[in-house]
């Protein structure tokens, strides 16, 4: 019996390592939503559905052509990118209060995307299962699936590039200018329409790109988008809309909390932890305790332009 099991491992460490890995994935999952909300004030409830759309693209390509989920990320990013950019003129027609109305509009879009996915791909569960990804790798004395490590590494790279975009490039800085003060940025000569188009495309692309990774660790159905959307909302509100670093920290915390809760108490506590954290974050941030950018998404939150 002893030889079958192998040496007993310290499972708290397992839970912690697993949680941190999942956390980096969560941060990437949220990035598309955060970018869009920060710059264009669109509260995109269809974010998760864009992720699922990318997931289906990735799954089909893997199934039909055997392409690795990592490699198909650019392709998976394409349809959500186009959808997001194409929605810009519709969003421009939405009246005040903008944030709230964008919530409702994107919600309607979410239903439409879900029904399209259901008609096109049927409601069968889908999964990307590259055999090499199932191999176990030892990390800090703990066994982790190779695939998950790969996903975490990819997430860190993409988040790092995003961070560089926002802080080091001129365009990135102009994005941040718009997110802080739309009117002011327009006066300074930055064209808000071009910025919106770019940011919507970027946000859609980020959502779509993470889709194949999602499909590799969780099964995909047309209505699976609600999970990623909720995660994105929690992390974005927690981390503040402008900060990639904040997203990452929030992601790590969320992943850690869920994993440890599951290890300690099972599925009930895992679910309750995620929801409890959401409530806490909302209470803390919603009352405007921190972050100047948060107040811009307040009740009368609108846009000047």
């Amino acid at each position: 019996m002893e030889s079958r099991r192998g040496p007993r491992r310290c499972t708290v460490v397992e839970a912690v390592v697993g949680g941190l890995i999942t956390g980096t994935f969560y941060a990437l999952l949220a990035s598309g939503f955060a970018v869009i909300l920060g710059v264009t004030r669109v509260f995109n409830l269809a974010h998760g559905d864009l992720v699922i759309l990318g997931a289906y693209v990735g799954e089909r390509l893997w199934h039909l052509a055997g392409w690795s989920p990592i490699l198909v990320m650019p392709l998976a990013a394409l349809p959500p990118l186009l959808l997001a950019v194409a929605s810009r003129p519709l969003l421009a027609r939405v009246g005040e209060p903008f944030v709230l109305r964008s919530v409702v509009l994107t919600f309607g879009a979410s239903l439409l995307i879900q029904s399209t996915l259901q008609t096109t791909f049927t409601a069968d569960f889908r999964l990307i299962t590259p055999p090499a990804w199932d191999r176990g790798i030892s990390l800090f004395g703990v066994r982790v699936a190779a695939g998950r490590l790969l996903i975490a590494a990819t997430a860190l790279i993409v988040l790092g590039l995003l961070h560089l975009l926002f802080t080091r490039t001129f365009f990135g800085k102009s994005l941040r200018a718009v997110s802080l003060d739309r009117e002011g940025a327009a006066l300074a000569g930055i064209d808000p329409v071009r910025v919106d188009r770019f940011v919507l495309g970027l946000g859609g692309a980020l959502a779509g790109a993470v889709g194949p990774l999602f499909a590799a660790i969780q099964y995909v159905t047309p209505s699976a988008g609600i999970g990623p959307t909720l995660t994105a909302i929690v992390l974005t509100i927690f981390g503040g809309v402008g900060s990639i670093g904040g997203l990452l920290v929030g992601g790590l915390l969320l992943g850690l909390a869920e994993s440890v809760a599951a290890w300690a108490g099972g599925a009930l506590w895992r679910d309750l932890t995620g929801l409890g954290l959401l409530l806490l974050v909302l209470r803390w941030r919603g009352v405007g305790l921190a972050g100047a950018s948060v107040s811009a998404i307040g009740p009368a939150g609108g846009r000047a332009a």
Binding site: R4, E14, D134, R135, Q218, W263
Partner: protein, 399 residues
């Protein structure tokens, strides 16, 4: 005007009409059969399989001059409120004499309430919830039940595996959680410990914490009362985390061909359950089973999924019951069908169809299969086994 009557049934209907206009010896009894299945939505694949089975049974019946069956099909989209609306419409507007169909008990339960209220017999094609036959209803019948899963899964564990510790992971659906609870009760009665008994919600991607518990509890056998997609994720993580078990027994979904395809080499040695499938049929019905498979291939192309047989058998049961009331012409009454179902004894490839006083199928059984060399072999119960079980399974390193 009933909708969605497929061309085949219309053709059969017209043919039987023509036959009926011959010498006026036996006039056909008529019956409107209402079918409610999830043809779109989450359970579309399952509902479609059930529907096709029902269709085949109806077409078969219409080929005989004794009965003229009008099939009225409704799609409940996997939603209870649509299912109830469909049931009300079929019964009160179209005067259906019997209802057939249903995939999950969240749909079957509400439909059966409507049927009972209007005193119309309803034969459920896939219902597991024990409580549905404990209500004392006289118009509810079903051809499958949970007890069959409990008996066979417990049987193989107790008789073939004989472990000391069994872990049970189950999905948060009514059927799976009832099954899990019954399994634990019976295992503990047999002096087998259940150190891990955990529910997981669908959409849970990371089973690692649960599987770590399974490993740390030294469980020898893992019973997964879940569906194919969950088994897929679980088995992959078992491999990645190098959790070594002696046996893995999946409750639902292991009978689909995709299991072998998607799991690949990791699927070897896994156990599952099955009822009927092409090649596995109730003894004495091999020829009827082959005929069904051939008919399905001709009509729809491809191999019939097990659920198609469920639809076929349920519809055949109703039509056989109705046929006994034939001999008088005119509409067959729901009461007559109910009476006929109570007294029915019909041998089919799925099971010998007989109902007890609560409407429960008396002879439904599940068989235990194991994946060996890329195919599924029946290993339990002994009277239906086609091969020997390979237990314990080798460690992941040894494979």
């Amino acid at each position: 005007m009933p909708q969605r009557i497929p061309c085949g049934a219309w053709a059969a209907f017209l043919v039987s009409l023509a036959l009926g206009f011959g010498p006026a010896v036996a006039e056909a009894a008529t019956i409107t059969l209402g079918e409610i299945n999830p043809l779109t939505g989450r359970f579309a694949a399952h509902g479609t399989a059930l529907h096709r089975g029902v269709l085949l049974a109806v077409e078969e019946a219409n080929a005989s001059p004794l009965l003229r069956v009008t099939l009225a099909t409704r799609d409940d989209e996997g939603r209870p409120d649509r299912a109830v609306a469909a049931a009300e419409e079929l019964i009160t507007r179209l005067r259906a004499a019997a209802l057939v169909g249903g995939y999950v008990d969240t749909l079957v339960g509400p439909i059966s309430e409507v049927a009972e209220r209007h005193k119309v017999p309803y034969v459920a094609t896939a219902s597991l919830d024990e409580r549905l036959t404990q209500r004392g209803y006289r118009y509810f019948f079903r051809i499958s039940h949970l007890q069959a899963y409990v008996d066979s899964m417990l049987g193989v564990v107790r008789d073939l595996f004989r472990p000391r510790r069994v872990a049970i992971l189950f999905s948060a659906t009514p059927g799976a959680s009832q099954l899990a609870r019954r399994q634990r009760e019976r295992l503990e009665q047999a002096a087998i410990r259940v150190p891990v008994f955990e529910m997981f919600t669908s959409g849970m991607s990371d089973f690692a914490p649960l599987l770590a518990r399974v490993r740390d509890a030294d469980a020898e056998v893992l019973i997964a009362d879940a569906f194919f997609a969950d088994h897929l994720v679980m088995v992959r993580q078992l491999r990645a985390l190098e959790v070594n078990l002696k046996g893995f027994l999946g409750a639902f979904g292991m009978e689909f061909p995709e299991v072998v395809r998607d799991l690949g080499p990791s699927g070897e040695y896994l156990f599952g359950t099955t009822g009927w499938e092409p090649g596995i049929a109730e003894p004495g019905t091999e020829e009827a089973s082959r005929a069904f498979v051939a008919q399905y291939r001709r009509r729809f192309g491809g191999e019939p999924p097990p659920l198609a047989m469920h639809g076929y058998v349920a519809a055949r049961a109703i039509l056989a019951a109705a046929g006994r009331a034939a001999g008088r012409s005119g509409e067959v009454e729901p009461q007559a069908i109910r009476q006929g179902l109570q007294e029915l004894d019909l041998l089919t490839p799925l099971e010998r169809v007989q109902f007890d006083s609560r409407g429960e199928a008396t002879h439904y059984r599940r068989l235990i299969v194991q994946i060996q060399g890329g195919t599924r072999i029946v290993v339990y119960p002994p009277d239906r086994a086609t091969g020997k079980a390979r237990y314990p399974m080798p460690t992941w390193k040894e494979r």
